[in-house]
Amino acid sequence: MASLNGITWSGKPKFQIRNPSYNSTNIYIDLAVGHVWRIDCANISGAIGNFTVQNVPSGTGIVSSFLLGLIQGPNPSTNYLNWLAMTNVKWAGGIRGVQPWQKHLINSVQMDSGEIIMYSNGHYLAAPVSETVGGPNSILPIRFTTTGTLPTGLSLNTNYWSYFSSNMYFFPSSTEVTSGEGSGAGTPISYTNAGTGTHYWHMYHHEKHQNIQTATDNAVDYLSFTTWDNGTTWYGTVVGRDIK
């Protein structure tokens, strides 16, 4: 194997596109023969829950990567790659169109009818975002950070939802909100104090919890996978969805 300690590509690198092998439970990527892979999901059957990468280069201090193109099939709800089951692949937080790392200032925490209401100008929580996995009407969770102490009733590293909001404020809920009333309407948090310091909220969601693939037949999505530990864990990122 060639080892180039620094390289300039004045010419154009080309990659042969390989087709992974698969069966009803596994998809196999063999890095000995390819860097760019593509699979037509029209040919798979059922939910493939194992992601096996073969011949991963091994050694100290190396990082390996490959690309995987996915062409959606006609039955995406029954024949698909089940990323939730593939525990060797880690996905970034956040959702398309929302920058998860972007923290949003909470201008003030107040009491409304005994419950916590948070004012955050121009936040995104007014419109529920639906997801395929996890409930058709569920709203994405958020988390809080602070430079001081969060209001009593709120904790760090804990998911919350918004059960009622405008574009200026929202009421946090300790349970997922799946409907406008009844058991899925959320659980308000009683107001005790506003905490100390400056508080922020940010989206908390993971790519694999929603459809990574575009659900339209023949839609093309490309994913990138990188390992920093010789193949034990793969970090997956979406290069592009619904490329056309």
Binding site: S10, G11, P13, G61, V63, A92, W101, Q102, T145
Partner: protein, 153 residues
Amino acid sequence: MADLQRPVTINSAIIGKKGTATCTGTTLTIDIISGTYFELDLQNLSGDISTFRMENYSAGFPGGQSYTLKLIQSSTPRQFTWSSLIPQLFFAGGSAATTGPPNWHFVHIGGEHPYLSQENNAVNIMSIISPVTGDNSLRDVAWLVAMVGTDFQ
């Protein structure tokens, strides 16, 4: 350094090298000729990152090069102080590079400063692309920073 001027077909994995990187105090340091991937546990920091050192800068420094940083959040969450952070380059031997213009700076997608996930041990991956340099005179001064992803799970 190899310069491949004709098309090259690659039929197997592309492997990158992890470079040397450290973080102490409020300083993050990478050795830019030791690799293009850098893995750092922010646990060793005593505060937010206010100094970004890139060492072993040389006249042969290639422009438009991509670096990838894998940052593991510490139990006390740390961030980059992007609003005041500037790239600081140093020659081999430790002397500060003075060939660059005084207005080196980091730029971000949409002008939004990337924000690291605050959870302890959260994995954040970030990409940095250096300015294009030709004959070691700077044609551009902006280091492009893009968050690949935060809080991988």
